[in-house]
Amino acid sequence: MTPIDESLISGRERLDEEMAALEGSIGYDETAYALPVTYAVTGMAVHDAGSAREAYAASGSSVLVAGECLAAAGYAAGGEEGEPYTGFVPDTVLRRLGYSLVDGSIAGIGLVAGSPDDADAAAAICREMQEKYLLTFLAGGVIQTLTEAGVKVGLEYRLVPLGSTGMAAIHFADIIARVAMMFGGVQPGDADRLLNYAAERAKAFVIAFPGLEDEEIAVIDGLRVLSIPILTPEGYEGGEWIRVPYLDAVREGMERRGIRVNVVAIPIPMACSPAFEGKSIRKEEMYVEFGGAKAPAFELLRVRPADEVEDGRVEVIGPEVGDLEEGSAVPLAILVDVAGASMKKDYEPVLERRIHTFLNYGEGSWHVAQRDLVWVRLTKDVVRRGVAIADLGRLLASKFRMEFPDLIDAVQVTLVTDRERVEAMLEEARAIYDERDERIAGMKDEDVGTYYSCTLCQTFAPNHVCIITPERPALCGAITWLDAKIAYEIAPAGANQPVEKGELIDPVLGQFEGVNRFVKKASHGAVDRVSLYGMMDEPMTCCGCFECIATILPEVNGIMIVNRDYLGDTPLGMTFSTLAGTIGGGAQTPGFVGISKGYILSDRFLQAENGIERVVWMPSLLKDELKGRLEEKLERMSIPELFDKIADETVAVSIEDLAEFLARVDHPALAMRPLI
């Protein structure tokens, strides 16, 4: 075991001595950046021993500067190593490399240094790095170890042999320095920007094997200022180096620097594309089915800690497709475990819904419903072509990685077909579903400091902004607060943005200073203020895709709600579509507001106008749809009789009939403070 701390001290001393002894001219060819690290850090273009020492002093005796000056002095003295070593990488090659990094065809870069005792371990690490689209640089004995073990090295293999000693590690640093200057706009001499750039963008890590000399250790350790983690599987102790088993080294390095690989192909013998999304599988075409009403089945996606999720792992517990007879109905549990640094438990339901979409992408797979109601089929055709149950897992694992590259670092899928186990797990799953529902249902506006916006509809209604709160889902009914929050976290540049609600201006109207500020900006100045809980003063704008419209009926001092599916006339004298035509387009129309069905059940429903108690009319279709939940709500409010006092088209279509009906049933709205 080499103690890092001690090596650093003696390594630094050696570097100091060598710097003091430096003579003659110094420099690389084929670069416009002099000695790149030195140039980036100090702004000085070193060309001889004198200027090297000056720069070294100016850098505050940086080990990287020392290492670079010494290496470049070797070059100038003609000490360049020949094949297979590349030595200093010229600018032209580097530009391409930088290109590939931005372009994504290289996910990140790694340096493997030292002389591994175990050739297989080194080879395995390099292979893994190749597979993960990393460009690997090699410095020291590892190169010989690999070549002897039959591993091919060279730029074309994405294994770049820098030099025969650990000192070649300095070229790893000069590459990063040049990328920062070429691509990151870092000016020579602006060391702070360089460090910032490296911290934010350098997708790089080092794996150190045993056998490094003290000064090599010092130089490699120096890379840490560039936010490059140094991982070591064996041979070192102390210092800031991170010890990991060699099997985990690459994953650890990638995770620490947020390096992600874009999955491109799905490794299953079945085509997979949105084109197959709507294909249904008829009974005659089916080889096997899961769930439906015929066998217990469910799906569950859970967020797990990174060390419990092995990326890409797919396991089938119970019979595989080969063990099943044609036409059989089988139990199934689809368990998807995901891990990711920014994953949250809240995302589970949203991601879980994607299982449906993804399984339907398969040419011969079909999926309906969700949670414990799922029903999955596989066709004879694809089973004949070798598709197995495990392939559904592979499909899911790849698709989740592809669609959420920034969110999900690892996915593993377990498919259980064993009846007993499925039944046992089903209870557990149901408990989780209930818990999720409660969490959403119980959420109150005052519990959160941030609402979300949606501006998707600005395509059609240029100044429209939806503000979505836990108790006021979007007017289109498609987006809840949680959906919007997650959409934002998954795609921070998307149409859903966080809205700090800021100071409360009016608790009844639901006006917030922060919301107003946001709306003003997002509506391009068209809307100054918005009341979240009212329709008379500065109501929210309507884009046109509201599920329902709530309007006042001044004659009866009440509110009428009409939903999109109702085609008939209303007591206002306008149908849904004429109404929609007059209030849509992103305008604020006091007395009229677009709402979702869900909002009708909310405690915040138009509270500024006395909420549900003010509602005097809605189409029977809507009333039926909401019946159970609305009755429950009215029960809670101790006004169960209200349900029958709300008129529908069967009792009144004209305002006159409505007035009569309301008087007859003594609707509370008649006695409320006048709306106008």
């Binding site: 930088g98 290109y99 590939s100 372009d103 994504g104 990151g184 395509t459 240029p462 540049a493 998307g494």
Partner: protein, 325 residues
Amino acid sequence: MSEEHNPEQGNRILEVSLGATTAEGGTRERVYTVGGAGTFPFLGAGPAAGHPPRIALEICDDTRTWSPIVLREVGDLAGDTGAWAAAAETTFGADMVRLFFTSTRQRGFDDFASLGTTMEEVIGATKYPLIVEGSTEPGIDSEVYRRIGEAAEGERILLGTAEADRYRSVAASALAYGHALVAQTPIDINLAKQLNILLHETGLPPERIVIDPYTGTLGYGFEYSYSVMERIRSVALQGDADLARPMISSAIDSLNVKEVREADPETADEVAIRWEFYAAFSALVAGAEIVCVRHPGTVALLREALPALQEGSHPQEEAYGDESA
């Protein structure tokens, strides 16, 4: 009479410079700056008027899908990309050439070396800033944009086209080889903002991005594009920095529409020119800083009309004038 309507004094369209002179590491004789306006097009006076718009003539390296009307008009030039490019500047009077590497759009394209050669040829044949369009196939983007970018290193070409799900190679090429890029988002203002943010994350500075709101052809959705351009400009002037970028407009399908394709051969040129002209001219009025057309005759017509839209007693000079060496 108040000659000016400036709703929000102060907000300006970002300026983007295209082309690099020898002193700047390129070989262009002119550098164009586009953008800078603080009002709706042609309404401003003085600095708020911004820089003059530019007219580009589109050419290609593989003419198989190019309009036969244009091919007839340019004759032998079509077989010699360099000469075609040179003629665009000298004979046809365009401010710049927009070169489409249409060869990359053939199935199974793999002659990557030709891209560099053609690029160098066109650079050698021209003196003004260039716009270059690469592949549309994600599978070859990486290679295509690297070759083009590398061959044009230092020239600060305007490289197209980045889209929300395909921007990395274009951005990488712009970053690595010092170019500007075109960011396209089909007729949606929110998507345009989103792409800007993605590009920002790659590290590309905003002064190197020109946005392309996508221009539908006259009679085939042009109205959407017209309004999107007006909206982008209006939102930009209200202070939305994400959209305060110069716009490029090209109704690329103009010469494929029925009206043009089926025109009487006698008048086909006239029809083609008008179809391009009405869209390009309208795009200028809606806020486009660079308009692109394919028929040389359209360039001439635009050339003639532009000065009459611009301020000042010598508009002609301004329209032709370059702003640097």
